[in-house]
């Protein structure tokens, strides 16, 4: 403590002062680059559609308006996909955590065949069947166009398994198991009564990782769900954002009550895109802001080389 204090009081040399000033300036610019695009989306989503389309909205909302959000409330296709995204995210995260914790606990023990299991799992990180063979196998298994595939596909990740294993073997002492087994506890009881309650941190880490990955996935549905009524948010969003158009059917959905004219409809559906970005990104960013500590912890645990 004392040492740190003296270090800040050592007089900075001229070159170090210049460096410090430049460094703050540098980070000011970096922050601007990171924030501005996001800020621009936010202010555009609450600006007048005409001003947005004219490129007038650059620094602050112009002619503040909720019209985009009003319209998006009526966008039933989008909200249905929003619901599916929650279902897939919650289901996938729950399964992912449970399977990962079971496996990680087993791998933190010694047993015959552990090396083989370990190798089998790590190998999948470096070599995969590829898109097409995977697709054909899933189709043969009857999982094509079934919503359940959205929960199962990518349910486990090798990386998450490794951080969970590292966490368990370095945070839950072996002696605890030995003590428990003397009292007649077996692996099942020990896992549910001792390991899981002591693994709050790693479970939080796993849940945020799995949840964000599931929430942001558009590709699985694109490949495995032909029926777009099951599509999650990101897959629907892709149609709206990447094609640059809101489809005629979607427009009809939103403007059924108060259709004015083509040009106005176009302008408003343009703003709807900004609103769609906001409502799809807000859950992930909120999760991040609240669970920031856990996201960072996950990377830290993962980077510990044993």
């Amino acid at each position: 403590m004392a040492k740190e204090k003296t270090s800040t009081h050592i007089k900075l040399t001229r070159s170090d002062r210049i460096f410090t000033v430049c460094n703050y300036f540098f980070w000011g610019i970096i922050l601007l680059i990171v924030i501005y695009p996001l800020y621009l989306i936010v202010i555009s989503s609450v600006s007048d559609p005409y001003a947005v389309l004219n490129g007038e909205v650059l620094l602050y909302p112009v002619d503040f308006s909720w019209i985009g959000y009003e319209k998006i409330m009526k966008y039933t296709t989008l909200w249905r996909s929003y619901g599916w995204a929650f279902v897939y995210t919650i289901g996938g995260t729950a399964i992912g955590i449970f399977f990962t914790m079971l496996l990680a606990y087993a791998l933190s023990n010694r047993f015959i065949g552990k090396g083989l299991i370990n190798f089998m799992i790590v190998f999948t990180m470096f070599f995969s069947g590829g898109l097409i063979p995977t697709f054909l196998v899933m189709r043969d298994l009857g999982l094509y166009n079934k919503p359940i595939i959205m929960v199962l596909m990518g349910a486990m990740s090798v990386w998450n398994t490794m951080i969970a294993r590292t966490y368990i073997s370095s945070n839950i002492p072996r002696e605890l198991y030995e003590a428990a087994s003397i009292d007649g506890s077996d692996h099942f009881r020990y896992f549910f009564r001792i390991v899981l309650p002591l693994s709050g941190t790693i479970i939080a880490v796993l849940s945020v990782y799995y949840a964000v990955a599931k929430w942001n996935d558009y590709f699985t549905a694109l490949v495995y769900l032909r029926d777009n009524t099951y599509w999650p948010l990101q897959t629907v969003l892709r149609q709206i954002l990447a094609s640059l158009t809101v489809s005629a059917g979607d427009v009809a959905e939103m403007f059924a009550d108060d259709y004015t004219d083509v040009a106005e409809t176009l302008r408003v559906s343009n703003v709807v895109k900004y609103c769609a970005i906001i409502i799809s990104t807000v859950p992930a960013v909120i999760l991040y802001l609240f669970m920031q500590e856990y996201f960072v912890k996950g990377v830290m645990i993962g980077s510990v080389k044993g």
């Binding site: 791998l107 933190s108 073997s169 980077s303 044993g306």
Partner: protein
């Protein structure tokens, strides 16, 4: 990449069957613990690996993966013989190589300078902010690019016009594709990429800095001689992990950013496999291309791992 602290099992000469049986019985519950994951990996990873055989067959849905007729290297020959092969390989390699060239060093540099922000509050704030883009989905990122790079009302082109330049058709010109792809990747991932380096830098012994200061080392010299060597091992690990992406890359993002206009540079192997395989149902042909891609990636990771191991004794295996 990490190992348990459990001591290595005692090696015994000869196989003691009775002991093995005893241990299998003692540990039966652990096998139950492994089972769900094992089934998952078999179904979602090993069955597709088994399915790779269709790369050497003429896949017919009625005959199935196993029943289809063997055709040897037909699909590989067809791919490498076609005029498409070289542009696809070149697009994939260049996109990922340039990508690695930018996205590998930038987090290192950012971490080195971030570590030198004196104010703890500002440092914390900066970290919170620069991680945010990591949580923006690929679809939203692509959507933002389409919006911001719009030739008439995108803010980038408004800026260009204001500065007296000519607006660019960023999303519709082959010449811009890689720049757009890589710049947006840097925006999205660089901040997040600093975490592990920052973690490594917190482990530096404070006394090292003290003695460096007493010896009259400037901040820049400290960064160069203390901080940089500290994070080199971690950086090497990241390089090994990323080297496999030279042939794979971010296919999902490429698919989102591909337009009719930029196809000349945006058509990569991954996107081609997706469109030809799933849209045109050329299963065997695209499985063969996918296999080629996977094998190259695998060789890349192994090679880079070996090189860094020899050069610096840093490796993953």
């Amino acid at each position: 990449m990490s190992t348990t602290n459990a001591p290595v099992a005692k090696r015994e000469k000869g196989i003691n069957w009775a002991q093995i049986r005893r241990r299998l019985i003692r540990d039966w519950q652990l096998y139950i613990f492994v089972l769900p994951a094992l089934i998952y990996y078999i179904v979602f990873h090993y069955m597709p690996l088994y399915g790779i055989q269709i790369a050497f067959k003429d896949y017919k849905a009625v005959l199935g993966i196993q029943g289809s007729e063997w055709v040897g290297l037909k699909h590989f020959k067809e791919f490498f013989g076609s005029y498409l092969a070289w542009p696809l390989i070149k697009n994939t390699l260049l996109l990922n190589l340039y990508g690695l060239l930018w996205s590998f060093p930038i987090p290192v540099i950012l971490a080195l300078f971030l570590n030198r922000l004196g104010s703890a509050k500002f440092k914390k704030f900066t970290q919170t902010v620069i991680y945010i883009p990591h949580f923006v989905s690929t679809v939203v990122l692509a959507g933002m690019l389409y919006i911001f790079l719009d030739p008439t009302n995108g803010f980038i082109n408004i800026l260009i016009s204001a500065l007296g330049g000519t607006p660019q058709y960023f999303m519709a010109e082959p010449g811009w594709f890689r720049t757009v792809f890589i710049a947006s990747a840097v925006w999205q991932s660089s901040g997040w990429g600093t975490i592990i380096y920052i973690a490594a830098l917190t482990a530096v012994d404070q006394e090292l800095y003290e003695s460096a200061k007493i010896d009259g080392a400037s901040i820049l010299q400290q960064i160069f001689f203390i901080d940089l060597p500290t994070i080199v091992p971690m950086a090497m690990m990241m390089l090994i992990l990323n080297s496999g992406s030279i042939m794979n890359g971010n296919m999902q993002k490429t698919l989102l950013l591909q337009t009719a206009g930029n196809k000349a540079t945006s058509n990569t192997i991954g996107v081609y496999v997706y469109t030809m395989g799933l849209t045109n149902a050329q299963f065997s042909y695209t499985a063969a291309i996918g296999l080629f891609q996977n094998v190259i990636s695998f060789i890349m990771v192994m090679t880079v791992n070996k090189i860094t191991k020899e050069a610096s004794s840093i490796s993953m295996f």
